[in-house]
Symmetry: C2
Subunit: 354 residues, 2 copies
């Protein structure tokens, strides 16, 4: 696979983004949704910020307070054995797999570009947590344009779980909120760009607890607000790069061969790569083909090193003829872009036996 | 709380139900949905069966095969240290919390009664697993009548997760399937018996993994097929009987004070009791009041002893004036019924401060 990483990579780093208030610092600008609007390329950046601290023995957790509208800060001593700080992203009770706090709070901010290489970041957030279901932040937006409306699906994180929020905008100024579309635990939700046989479809990624794994499902709707007829779509492969967890990435786009979905997956070592899956044009619940190898893997320094290294994670791509521009977060820290050939991606797919 | 347990309790036990095939045995007949139909009380029984075995060193797991339509059996040696058989309901990999097989397979069968005390069990299942999402069985049906249709929500269990199936019948003979209404992990789904301000509502119980707990949420729909606008409704109370997990039980019914929902909960010792919560008549996402103590707890021998003891678990109740007939599964083994006073239940509620 020929991968043309932009010379300007990383396109945006935390240093390029001013925190939304002076007592906070930006530690991540990554996993952006992508859209074309008014002749520009829009990145809807996930910006992760944390309270500034000069004391390395203290770990701080920012929490949006829906009553005051302000951010509260909960502090922990790093040596406190009741807690586990080994994952830099989370605070867990010792011995537990689930988290009780995040070490940063994410929200969405727009970056704009004429050429797709050089971006200017808006001064203000476009979307900031607003509800009790978003007290730990909003994350990983995906954008799908249908007619003249841009629909945004994103993770809503709070102590009661990680669900999927849904919002829409026509101008990237005013945003309408449509509530939580899929209940916890569910993230990595991407909307297809058109109705298929009269129905809207999303790919989604539940994380079940009692049995099952973080794998990709598909659901349908007739109004984009309510979703059902959930079906299992594709799963982990124990001997592959996608053996640990996987989820949809960019919004799927139409090719002659089928819907092409660029998805992310991690192995047991939490190395995140991007791969591709082809879905039937008339029935997107049918998997036609899948890449046995990643199409994009963390290789260069900005992908392997960072807040959470060895991660390439795309929430949006643009197709222009044979060129697929994959915008992607690197190391949970910065944004990058790589161009791949559509024909090469399609040629790398392995078709399933009937 | 005055609780009148029927003299005939347990009303139905595994000995009362003939297995659906001779090489299987019934180990549970419990957690039945309840409806009134044609002058009779219908219990839609969850029947749990397992392959007969004379060898106590072998643990067998029945699995529905959607291709052959038959049941496959996977066998394990009880001494195999790769596995954990300590929970009699499940087979887990050693050291894991999630399960990989169940030791029984459940399906639904009807029992009928004129007096609500004496039941006759149908010879054939009404609902049996049919899809790849039900290979480990279907469980815990709830029935809600709207107009002339009985809607059935139930757990669909398979290796890819535990989701919620949805079906309907007008005659308890022919059943229409409506697919998986809520994606894994989600169970304990009960439908309100009428539209409220133009929308259908369900209570549901996700089990998130990364953060959050097994708690009750509410969702809405305009067509009963697709669901959204998920909101968190009520949670665990660390110093109460409902400190471990909780979920909706019987379909809610209308009282002058609000929607009365009888819910189940367990503490950390897996002791399952029933309690009550009152929801606003005009906005069922608003909790008005809740019982601080259980209204029904496992006390008598058929509730404390059995396949999985110390469990009372209702999936359906009937209200007749001041009488609330709570049909409930006991010890994951048998069915029982208790009558309580509606006024006493309502008087036991503690209203929340505004």
């Amino acid at each position: 696979m020929n991968v043309y990483r932009y010379d300007e990579n990383p396109l945006l780093t935390p240093a390029d983004v001013k925190p939304h208030r002076p007592d906070y610092e930006v530690i991540g600008v990554f996993n952006a949704g992508v859209a074309e609007f008014n002749g520009e390329i829009i990145l809807l950046l996930r910006v992760a910020e944390r309270p500034r601290s000069n004391d390395p023995t203290i770990v701080k957790a920012p929490v949006f307070n829906p009553i005051t509208g302000d951010l509260d800060v909960v502090s922990f001593h790093r040596e406190d054995i009741k807690y586990d700080f080994s994952d830099p992203r989370t605070i867990r009770l010792a011995g537990q797999d689930s988290f009780i706090y995040l070490t940063s709070l994410s929200y969405f901010r727009i970056a704009r570009s004429k050429d797709g290489h050089h971006f200017t970041v808006d001064n203000q957030p476009l979307l900031f947590p607003t509800t009790s279901l978003e007290t730990f932040g909003i994350e990983d937006p995906r954008i799908t344009k249908i007619d003249d409306t841009y629909f945004i699906s994103f993770s809503e994180v709070s102590p009661v779980g990680v669900g999927t929020g849904f919002a829409s905008t026509k101008d990237f100024i005013h945003v309408d909120h449509h509530g939580m579309m899929l209940a916890p635990e569910n993230k990595d939700v991407v909307l297809f760009p058109e109705k298929i046989n009269g129905k809207y479809y999303v790919l989604h990624r539940p994380v079940p607890k009692s049995t099952g794994a973080p794998e990709i499902w598909i659901a349908e709707s007739d109004n984009l607000r309510y979703w059902g007829n959930h079906r299992y779509l594709m799963g982990l492969r124990s001997d592959h790069w996608d053996s640990g967890r996987l989820g949809a990435g960019a919004a799927p786009f139409r090719t002659e061969q089928g819907w092409l979905e660029l998805y992310h997956a991690a192995d047991e070592n939490q190395r995140y790569c991007m791969g591709a899956v082809l879905l039937d044009l008339e029935d997107p619940s049918k998997v036609l083909a899948r890449t046995n190898q990643p199409i994009l893997a963390p290789e260069v320094d900005y992908e392997t090193d960072g807040f959470f290294g060895n991660v390439v994670f795309s929430c949006g791509a643009l197709q222009d003829g044979d060129t697929v521009k994959i915008y992607y977060g690197v190391a949970d820290t910065s944004m990058a872009c790589a161009e791949l050939s559509l024909q090469e991606i399609l040629a790398s797919l392995t078709y399933l036996e009937d």
